[in-house]
């Protein structure tokens, strides 16, 4: 008993030193060793009424898999996690556990909660390295066909659930590689692409068909998929998509990238390996990233790894209001990203040849809380100043991409331009069409998209059973 209660602090994960890692694209943490994993798992009290599970949007049986780790049954532990989560290696790395499962862990009341994310990552990696990939038994085919639009976390989860229900599932991906934001958005050093490939491979092994280079709305419409290609239901999980710019002067100068573009060039197209890879990217000496979310942190850290001498992170509120995960903020600061808080860009300056040479900023102060509940930043008159930069990356969010929605005039869209869908089932205003993830909620997280994918899979199964379609309760 003494053994199990003595360790208040969690087992930390070893990671690359900040100075070293800031110049390479290798993953930052090394992951647990088996001993470390057992040590950390042993901290779990195995509560009778485990609160952690309630914090997981995909309902992973957390206590059971941790128990298996404690017993050294790592591969069985991985299978246990995989019963509910098809992307454990991804989630172990990028889920905000601190506001989900770990926030409810009873140990967190007096000390540090069990490092559930670290353990999930460990078992998934262990299985990949040591075990053979085990696939669950797939029930008899139902003969029903489902088309899933978008192979990001929401689409992958929905696909896996539906194939396990016995349906024929096809994933349509607009880009040349599957994974959505997991491959174009999240950088290699936070989520190695080999891990995404491995998890996608698993989903293909389950029997899901994957069609890349398929821009739905252009190549096929949803109506064509359902009427001519014989799909009985569709799940739209295309993500939020279109980058937002601030609309300030000079924003179209060369050297100014949306975070989406900067990250896509670096991650999906591997521009950091130019000219071995053909996609170029401007490697700034002095880079300014605008925004305070995870995407801003990723962009800043990529810019640093491309060789920037100085990377500023410009955010109009203070650190307390930053939407990024604390761990990401911490990593960015450790690596030497310079935070310019309570600061807002006003305009970009041209070097005379169409390139950005500086950004003019203004200092801000916080006043009363706004609609989001965060204190509203207001400019301080006369506090303008200039920063010399050669690359700027606005990372201030996205809005919905019109390519697919334009072709669906019979689908109800919210005032903000997203698809109106039932939160519990994913049902939209159009019979047989479900939607979930960022295209419904606006920019959110990987795990929330996965949760939406799971709910939609459930909604689709219910629809197949009852053929019932009631969208009377849908409201914007």
């Amino acid at each position: 008993m003494k053994e199990e209660t003595k360790q208040k602090k969690r087992t930390s994960m070893r990671e690359q030193q900040p100075r070293e890692r800031a110049r390479n694209f290798k993953e930052v943490p090394y992951g647990y060793t088996p001993d470390e994993a057992v040590q950390e798992a042993s901290r779990c009290l195995n509560c009778k009424n485990p609160a952690c599970r309630k914090g997981c949007p995909v309902e992973v049986d957390i206590p059971s898999f941790i128990q298996l780790v404690k017993e050294g049954k790592f591969i069985e532990a991985a299978w246990k996690a995989k019963e509910k989560n098809v992307l454990p290696a991804v989630c172990g790395r990028v889920c905000p556990q601190e506001i989900q499962c770990e926030s409810l862990c009873i140990l967190g009341k007096k000390g540090e909660p069990v490092a559930i994310g670290n353990l999930e990552r460990f078992v998934a990696d262990y299985e990949a390295d040591h075990g053979e990939m085990k696939t669950p038994d797939i029930p008899k085919r139902t003969g029903r066909k489902v088309a899933i639009i978008g192979s990001g976390p929401g689409g992958l989860t929905c696909a896996a659930d539906l194939i396990k229900s016995g349906h024929d599932v096809t994933l349509f991906e607009a880009l040349h590689k599957p994974g959505g934001v997991l491959v174009y958005g999240i950088p290699e050093f936070r989520l190695p692409k080999s891990i995404v490939e491995r998890e996608v491979e698993y989903i293909k092994k389950l029997g899901v068909k994957l069609v890349t280079n398929a821009v739905i709305g252009k190549l096929y419409s949803i109506d064509e998929l359902m009427n001519e290609h014989g799909y009985d239901a569709c799940f739209i999980a295309t993500g939020a998509g279109l980058p937002v710019f601030m609309g300030i002067p000079g924003e179209n100068l060369n050297g100014i990238y949306s975070a989406n573009e900067f990250l896509t060039r670096a991650n999906l197209m591997k521009a950091y390996l130019f000219p071995d890879y053909d996609t170029p990217i401007r490697k700034g000496r002095h880079v300014a990233v605008i925004g305070g979310g995870n995407v801003a942190m990723d962009s800043a850290r990529v810019a640093l790894r491309l060789g920037a001498e100085k990377v500023y992170l410009i955010y109009r509120r203070s650190e307390a209001e930053m939407p990024a995960r604390k761990a990401e903020v911490h990593h960015a600061q450790e690596e030497g990203i310079e935070f310019l808080l309570l600061t807002n860009p006003l305009r970009y300056i041209d070097d005379g040849k169409g390139n950005v040479s500086a950004v003019e900023c203004i200092r801000m102060e916080l006043s009363e809380p706004d609609d989001s509940g965060r204190r509203r930043p207001v400019p301080i008159n006369g506090s303008e100043f200039r920063l010399e930069i050669d690359v700027a990356i606005p990372a201030i969010g996205t809005r919905s991409n019109p390519v697919l929605l334009e072709t669906m005039t019979d689908l109800t869209i919210t005032k903000r331009g997203y698809i109106l869908a039932d939160e519990e089932t994913g049902m939209t205003s159009k019979r047989g069409v479900f939607a979930g993830g960022d295209i419904v909620t606006g920019s959110a997280t990987v795990i929330l998209a996965m949760g939406a994918g799971r709910k939609a899979a459930h909604g689709i199964n219910e629809y197949f059973k009852w053929k019932y379609w009631d969208t009377g309760t849908l409201s914007d």
């Binding site: 190549l219 096929y220 998509g241 980058p243 573009e261 170029p280």
Partner: protein, 279 residues
């Protein structure tokens, strides 16, 4: 993988591919483009769909060898495969019976203007076409254009073929002398489209241009292709590629097209060097 069924060298620098892509061919319309990627290491480049054959399941694209990727493309042979072809992208051309229209194609821009001229002709328009290039060797598809035009004017900068002039010279004459010209379509280098628009603006003739900005995904996700038209930032890939030429900031377009000039030069030099070593 997408097979190159047919390859033609249209001129010293311009190459045509007919690509096996039945699903894209089914949906392609005049004005659409594709994104193409040669192999795993390749970049994604936008190319206009110059023709399509729904029955045969093929699309045709025409490109000029100017950078590393287009040189490498030019080395591919009939029967070779492209890793990725994505499309049809962008909004297609707006086609109706306007009356009399002028189609202007400059250099490699002759290729994308062809399906538009054809569609306009089929819609009942009187089509006057002007195609131009620096020199005779760079003129192609004269017969194609002849077949879909009521009148065809050819110009070369050096006078080696057709009229010794830039395309805006006969364009200006037509606009001055002919009555009832309702629309001008111009596709070619940004500088040509800019001067076409300056010319037509004098006569207040609506002018549609197709913008060839740098792209990555081609589906609205990245904003690399952003341009300014009508005082607003727009994305050439999803809001275009066609825009009202009188609203376009061509100087911005040209500046943005130069963004990777150094990188492109280095990549091309390195590629040519390695290709020579191989040989």
């Amino acid at each position: 993988m997408y097979k190159i069924l047919n390859k033609e060298e249209l001129s010293d620098a311009v190459v045509l591919f007919e690509i096996d892509a039945p699903e894209i061919a089914k949906k392609a319309r005049a004005g659409n483009f594709i994104i193409l990627k040669i192999n795993e290491q390749g970049e994604r480049i936008p190319l206009t769909i110059a023709d399509f054959n729904r029955e045969a399941g093929t699309i045709t694209t025409v490109f000029q060898k100017i950078g590393k990727t287009t040189f490498q493309l030019g080395m591919l042979r009939q029967g070779d495969f492209l890793a990725d072809v994505i499309g049809p992208l962008g909004k297609h051309s707006h086609i109706e019976n306007f009356g009399t229209v002028i189609c202007v194609g400059g250099g490699v821009g002759i290729a994308p203007v062809y399906p538009i001229a054809r569609a306009l002709k089929e819609a009942g328009n009187t089509v006057i076409s002007i195609i131009g290039a620096r020199t005779k060797n760079l003129i192609f598809w004269e017969e194609h254009m002849q077949n879909v035009s009521d009148e065809l004017i050819i110009t070369t900068d050096d006078g080696s073929y057709g009229r010794k002039a830039v395309v805006t010279v006969p364009l200006d004459e037509l606009l001055r002398e002919r009555e009832g010209i309702k629309l001008v379509i111009a596709i070619g280098p940004a500088i040509m489209m800019k001067f076409v628009c300056i010319t037509t603006e004098k006569y207040s003739i609506k002018t549609v241009v197709s913008l060839n900005s740098i792209m990555v995904d081609g589906t609205g996700m990245c904003g690399a292709c952003r341009i300014e038209a009508g005082g607003r930032t727009q994305f050439a890939c999803v809001d275009g590629p066609e825009f009202d030429g009188h609203e376009v900031d061509f100087d911005l377009l040209m500046a943005r097209q130069r963004m990777y000039l150094d990188e492109e030069k280095n990549a091309l030099e390195q590629y040519i060097k390695s290709a020579e070593t191989l040989q």
